[in-house]
Symmetry: C2
Subunit: 170 residues, 2 copies
DNA sequence: CGCATTTCAGCCCAACTGAGATGC
DNA sequence: CGCATCTCAGTTTGGCTGAAATGC
């Protein structure tokens, strides 16, 4: 490679913003930067979390489902409630539950209150796994790389966005 | 369904945070809330963006690739550079480029400077598509639902996180 | 020679759609 | 009856790995 070809890594997002401005889209450039930055942070966080969870043989979405069940009063919930709480498509819940059943972490039971539905319950093995996985994840959550004020500011801005998007009942 | 069963939608994230505290993980609860909130905002933003792009027959990652090419001096880049700039795996770039070639939006050319490599160049059709799609997306970027100060604060916090994660060359 | 570039086959995961079975 | 719940089959997307082809 020729000299100068190996340029400084320089932030791809800052570079994109510069191009946006150069192209006459300066009014949209800061919004674009905000979106792409958030996408990037999401990617960094998720890959960190998935990396930590790998030894446990679960993904973050599976962890979320297990944690949800563990915290419900009877350690079991109807599929429909799981879908609503995790805000994922019912067919995706079926899919995730299938995998967790395969690994012996949850079980399906008939719902005594509604013959159409099923309950998903977490097994003892699932409970044990959530505990060890949570120990590791809580470590990550506790040391995000932001101080407490910044972390709460971030949460607050997310809430502002969610409210504007109609994701919160004001 | 019995009365009271149809509860207020109440924020699933706030609920999770309550459970975290109730379970003795109060030190990690705010970090958990920050992460899950950001994941949720990412989901909301992406589904909004993908919805806007649907009429154009492209996804956000394809849009990013097209925009990158359009802004490069010769409207073409080596695969390796695309991979570095978009921070995606080389095999994923091959995949995305395949689809774009299929739709006539980009073309592969031999790289005159390096016989091993290929250049991906955007076609006239690709340029036209980026222009119309950008018009719609810039609309979204301009009106995110945050005011300018909040939007820039969000970008700033993302940068702080990225720096802590080693994603920026300090 | 060792190294870089790119593709390819193959895998996993998550999401969605549309159809159907079952029971309220 | 219409409606809700859930599964199932099939498609799309993206991301990754490991091996091979090519040329520096």
């Amino acid at each position: 490679m020729s000299p100068q070809t190996k340029q400084r890594p320089s932030d791809p997002i800052a570079e994109a913003q510069r191009q946006w401005v150069a192209h006459g889209w300066e009014h949209a450039a800061p919004g674009m930067a905000a979106v792409v930055s958030l996408v990037r942070v999401h990617q960094l966080m998720m890959s960190r979390i998935e990396h930590e969870l790998k030894p446990f043989g679960i993904t973050f979405s599976r962890f979320e489902l297990l944690a949800l069940l563990m915290f419900s009063s009877s350690r079991a919930l109807p599929m429909s409630k799981v879908s609503a709480r995790l805000q994922v498509h019912p067919a995706s819940v079926t899919n995730t539950v299938d995998r967790l059943v395969n690994d012996g972490l949850v079980e399906r039971h008939p719902n005594p209150d509604d013959g159409r539905g099923l309950l998903v319950g977490i097994t003892d093995q699932g409970i044990a796994l959530v505990h060890s996985a949570a120990a590791v994840l809580n470590q990550v959550f506790t040391d995000l790389g932001l101080d407490e004020a910044e972390r709460d500011q971030l949460t607050g801005l997310c809430n502002t966005y969610r409210r504007a998007a109609g994701d919160l009942t004001d």
